[in-house]
Symmetry: C2
Amino acid sequence: MTAISPLALPFPDLPPLAGVRLGVARAGYKAWDRADLTYAAFAPGTVVAGVTTQSLCPSPEVEWCRAALVLGHARALVVNAGNSNAFTGHRGRAAVEAIAARVAGATGCLPSDVFIASTGVIGVPLPIDRAEAGIDAVLAAPPASWQDAAATIMTTDTFPKAAVAHAVVDGRRVTLVGIVKGSGMIAPDMATMLGFIFTDCAIATPLLQAMLAEANAASFSCITVDGDTSTSDTVLAFATGHAGNAPLTAAADPGADAFRAALADVCRSLAQLVVRDGEGASKFVTISVTGAKSDASARRIGLSIANSPLVKTAIAGEDANWGRVVMAVGKAGEPAERDLLAIRFGATQVASAGLAVDGYDEAPVAAHLKGREVEIGVDLGLGEGAATIWTCDLTHGYIAINADYRS
Amino acid sequence: MTAISPLALPFPDLPPLAGVRLGVARAGYKAWDRADLTYAAFAPGTVVAGVTTQSLCPSPEVEWCRAALVLGHARALVVNAGNSNAFTGHRGRAAVEAIAARVAGATGCLPSDVFIASTGVIGVPLPIDRAEAGIDAVLAAPPASWQDAAATIMTTDTFPKAAVAHAVVDGRRVTLVGIVKGSGMIAPDMATMLGFIFTDCAIATPLLQAMLAEANAASFSCITVDGDTSTSDTVLAFATGHAGNAPLTAAADPGADAFRAALADVCRSLAQLVVRDGEGASKFVTISVTGAKSDASARRIGLSIANSPLVKTAIAGEDANWGRVVMAVGKAGEPAERDLLAIRFGATQVASAGLAVDGYDEAPVAAHLKGREVEIGVDLGLGEGAATIWTCDLTHGYIAINADYRS
């Protein structure tokens, strides 16, 4: 369970970001011999946008962030690893309020300027004394690196995950750095997805929120490991404004497109890293759906394929079992015409017009499936709707991680 | 892969049924050394009702049965095992038409009196020559037993499955016998669910159809092994009328309630047998959802729990991980209030009012989870909606069956 994913990528070189100071400490939420509390301090004037889980049973941290996002100002971020504090009733809410109060008291900001995320076991209230002591420790600690922060927010992750992008806005080079954790979508026990993006770009909160929502729809909302959704999933974007550009306020502003593209790039990279650390994953799978009635329909069909245990096990078995793809299209509940359906593995068309392609060359298909990166293309022949979904295979490793232990 | 499921039940004693004659033969659809074509001949006057897959990519057999069900008369049933004939375009349709023509020509019935179902690999047209030779052989073969028929329709199933029930209608004892195959819900490769129910009760087609739809909604539609849906799923009910009762024509007729209950009983037994043969299953799991806004909402929440890989692996691991149940409720997209939710394992309440029950006794929970039969109860505290879903756990065996081979 501690072996690094075969799909891991090396940690990138990341520059410091003006207006952001990082710290890590050991609060001791679990018996881990490592830091488990991550802190980020933001310069005055930092704005924040965010997206959170669609679960109807969210954690108190998620509820806290949703309320604070309405105000849109941030001075601090606290991330607890090892305990999600979800489904803990009034005790969980008290822990979140205590963390915000402790940070506000020590730094002179408002409690609503403090953003909080927690990840780990469900149903155990976060111990307030440990959280408070951890905050005191991290405020006194020396600055931490991006890699420290990316490693400290991990739970069952097997490697730290980060991405960087740049854009030119108003003649200034702005930087975006993101870190993420998660290795299921999402194992609530220990594998909530938390993502944090930091930029020195000056940008108004509503525009940042709109751009983050758009980027999320094509990145974090397009990945799946096991179809399960955490009670704590959270992605937050913090903008310090220290790059010195004239603030972006509207989508039509010069430079806004460049920033939007950079944000989309960081989100996509982070989302794909989560899939690369999928529990038990041995293959990184891209599912491209085209010809659907709409983009939303294409996305649902892509997720139906990506979440199918039979498709995922076929990929694990390096088996070009396109019948399982047909099945997953058929069960998606979206417009589909059997006799228009076309399917490819890699670059090889294996089925079209509702039946197998006569005598297609199996050699390149077999070679493609033996690789670490597998691509499945599905064309529905109905319209212009398209979506790309990223997932991983389903292996004995997933069962071993999730069944071969007791919580 | 050939070991019998640890959840298997013994084959029941089944009486002959007036108006039904069974046969089996070897068509040779695969390299199996056993019969793979099942035939049932029905007396004149036999009526039929049916329900079929909701897949939007159904097999030509499904389309054939849907058309024939409109007429509602049956003289023969042909079931092919080893090839589902799905996603085979015009060649698949030609095979179905050839089978119906062969039976009609040999027996003097109409092609529309011939019902056809096939199960097995997708994308390979059913070989017409083998099907025709198989039909010729089965028409010349000696009568077969219920157990022969139940075994011949099997694919990856590890044991033959059947159920029986009786009812008193119009002073006559009527009998219902059902057979079923399937060990996924449903692995399209080799594990489509096909169910066939035979009764000597005299009953009008529309009433039989209504009762079958109702029974299906509380049985076959409430099971899941892996959340995947076959392109060929079919349940047909044939009524010969040879019991001699005055035909049932309306739900209010005397005896109709007794017949309805018997039909529901057979369907539930058959559906549960499919779960007991779930690929890799080691536990039979009953999920009872109460307090939902509606029965339909309760069913969707139950299926969200039953299909969650994390819930299924927790059960495999005998882990009372109720946090994963909370997660699955939260992701179902149905009305739920976190702070009203209550969860039990077996008879032990482990969570209520949105948090863990303080100091609940873990011993009976652990003992319950070690058993072969696991029950999870979820109460939403919102209304009167209820549903019961049956599923199995997710084990290394499922991965072994579905990934550790090539098709």
